[in-house]
């Protein structure tokens, strides 16, 4: 049953990164667009994300709940040492969700739209950066795991784990990844003749992702980060990264040919491989620290808990996944062109 639970944890993480990531990315893409394109993007985002964005963000709740039920000791370290960036992520999630609804549901369209748009764009960028900093913090080696943390300063215990060059680089890398996913998604959803906006965005995002990834690795290598060292000596991780790079080719071919669904599958697969590479290089040690590491499998909840959780997840998954699939199919995959209609109608 433990493997069922682990599967759902990884599954939720992956879906959150892909679906939630594309969702955050939409705001980033909008932010880095010309004024005219922002308007087009705003409309497209509403049409594409509107029905599904809430569902996209529930994956993070599923993840957190699985973590605290099945891996309480691990969760404990996460919430104590990364309290600050997690709080910022929460504020970002809150403001972003509210801004999204406000800008599409406000009955009167006036200057307040500017405020909502601003809130939406800024929180769309800041939230994934801090989320990435949380991921970075876990593998940065800066989390203090020794018993004797009382003689350390506030900065060393609660700030340094996430506020260091490496973690910030991971944060920026993650935000770029979100923008990449979103651009690929938006290509297929754009109005007739506007695809080029997003093809250009996707190209830029691909380059940014690559460059950020490279900088993160080079910095990590020079500064002797355990994570990077493990990564580059792990043949499976390297292989996954190489395949992910090679996949850029079919990705761009399918984009050029206008094969929307296929191009998304390739982009999703690339992100899957990146996550897989990061995970297998240090699994099951999910927190890497200079004074030891914490495995996800340390101090797991008792069997009785894991079994019940596993069964609940299987049942929940059986109920939710078909519904979710149907929702995605109904609204996302089928291009519904209602360009001239009022978006809030």
């Amino acid at each position: 049953m433990l493997y069922v639970v682990l599967f759902f944890l990884m599954f939720s993480l992956y879906l959150y990164v892909v679906l939630g990531g594309a969702d955050y990315g939409a705001g980033i893409v909008e932010m880095f667009s010309s004024e005219e394109n922002q308007k087009i993007t705003k409309k497209t985002i509403y049409r594409v994300m509107g029905p599904v964005w809430e569902a996209n963000h529930i994956w993070i709740i599923i993840m957190i709940v699985i973590l605290w039920i099945a891996f309480p000791a691990y969760y404990n370290i996460l919430v104590v040492h990364l309290h600050i960036p997690l709080t910022i992520v929460l504020l970002g999630v809150t403001l972003r969700g509210v801004a999204f609804v406000f800008r599409h549901y406000d009955a009167i369209i006036d200057n307040s739209q500017k405020l909502y748009d601003g809130m939406f764009k800024v929180s769309s960028l800041v939230t994934p950066i801090f989320l990435g900093m949380v991921f970075g913090g876990l593998i940065s080696g800066e989390i203090q795991l020794s018993e004797n943390i009382n003689n350390l300063t506030f900065y060393e215990i609660f700030v340094k784990p996430w506020f260091n060059v490496f973690s910030v680089l991971v944060g920026l890398f993650f935000a770029a990844l979100c923008a990449f996913l979103s651009s690929v998604l938006l290509i297929g959803e754009s109005e007739e003749g506007k695809e080029n906006i997003y093809i250009r965005k996707a190209a830029i995002a691909t380059i940014v992702v690559f460059v950020m990834g490279l900088i993160t690795f080079i910095y990590g290598y020079i500064d002797n980060y355990f994570f990077v060292k493990n990564f580059i000596t792990d043949p499976y991780a390297i292989a996954a990264m190489i395949i992910s790079g090679i996949l850029l080719l079919p990705l761009w071919l399918t984009i050029k040919k206008g094969r929307r669904v296929l191009s998304r599958l390739f982009a999703g697969l690339q992100v899957f491989l990146i996550l897989l590479a990061a995970l297998i290089s240090h699994f099951p040690n999910i927190i890497i620290s200079k004074n030891g590491s914490v495995s996800l499998l340390d101090q797991i909840a008792p069997d009785s808990v894991i079994n019940v959780l596993g069964v609940s997840l299987i049942i929940g998954g059986a109920v939710i996944l078909p519904g979710l699939f149907h929702l995605l199919k109904s609204f996302k995959m089928i291009k519904i062109l209602e360009q001239n209609k009022n978006p809030s109608a």
């Binding site: 509107g50 029905p51 599904v52 809430e54 569902a55 963000h57 529930i58 993070i60 709740i61 599923i62 957190i64 709940v65 699985i66 605290w68 039920i69 099945a70 309480p72 000791a73 969760y75 404990n76 996460l78 919430v79 104590v80 309290h83 997690l86 709080t87 929460l90 504020l91 999630v93 809150t94 403001l95 969700g97 509210v98 999204f100 609804v101 406000f102 549901y105 406000d106 009955a107 009167i108 506030f154 609660f158 909840a301 008792p302 009785s304 808990v305 019940v308 959780l309 609940s312 997840l313 049942i315 929940g316 109920v319 939710i320 519904g323 979710l324 929702l327 109904s330 609204f331 519904i336």
Partner: protein, 432 residues
Amino acid sequence: MENLDAARLQMAFTLIFHIVFACIGMVMPFFMVVSHYKWLKTKDQIYLTLTKAWQKGVAIFFVTGAVSGTALSFELGLLWPEFMKHAGPIIGMPFSLEGAAFFVEAIALGFYLYGWNKLPEKFHWFTGVIIGLSGVASGILVVAANGWMNSPSGFDYIDGQFLNIDPVQAMLNPAWFTQALHMTLAAFTATGFAVAGIHAFQIFKGRRVALHTKAFKIALTFGAIAAILQPISGDISAKDIAERQPVKLAAMEAHYNTEKGVPLYIGGIVNAETQEVKYKIAIPGMLSFLAFGDFNAEVKGLNDFPEDERPNVPIVHYAFQTMVGIGGVLMLAGLLYFVSLKKKKWLKSNKYWILFVLLAPLGFIALEAGWIVTEVGRQPWIIHKIMRTKDAVTPMPGIVFSFYTYIVVYLTLSVAVTWLMIRQIKVLNAQK
């Protein structure tokens, strides 16, 4: 401010807001589907307009409820890591099921909001019903987790260790049913009266009276039925608490010395130093009767419990009085509403509408007061008789800063949501 106090205030504050958003998001779908049903049956355009107006309300409150709920799911761990480390695995069951219910709700909401003229009529309506049902299921499951904190079960506590964990038994703890019943009825009462009050105000102002009257009736029918049933649930809860958490009952009634035939105090000002309650109305034997069904039964007083195991008596007492007082008023208002359905000329009177405008906020005040009774009344324990709140708090100093940040964000959010609603109504009234 002490870290513990800051953490408690932040938790209280975020819960107070979340409860309002969540209740409205949970109950309004029911109003919406009733109106939608009437539209399908009668093809009266007003019902369609109303359904679409309410659907925007549902969407806005669902999101605010969802994001504040996401924040809470993290805050449990961020503020109370020691609690979650031990309690997480035990009470994970209702939370994981709640996650599933919430997911179903989000999917159904996606279908409903964007399904107009795209989905088959009946299926589309049915997705609305699913929104409501899964919302209520979520509410019940979360309350079940809270119930566990009041009546921990499903494990053996040996030498500071939680052993032989049974998540199902933990979920179905002795308090889950009474608390969930009371809360569900409270949510319907509070939302019903609040929504009806808003429409009553529009009727009083003479704006689109036909539409707002239909809205008023749908909302208040739910609110009134729940308000009339609530005292029964309250009675079940009182008897349950008398048995399980006698110290909480004693604090609710500011009852200090163990006696037989204890009177029920209505109102009164508590002096915790002298253990006196002044300016109260006392109904002889009534507390004994309400707690144990016998006017002569012995009710344990606060002095029977060690001083460091008692909650803050004045807060619990005033909150309890507020809740019960408002509950009584709303029950009478609910009866009055059903009478008014027979007396058509009342509906022509401004006084009738003003009355319901004034009643609008009361349900939520009672609901918050009720949660203050439950939560402050459980102190100093985070897990009743097992773990103290002060032992669960995060070691990270400076929580007071995140507390202030949350205050600013949530207050702004509340003002913004209210403003948004006013604008919705304005546009609705201007439509022809």
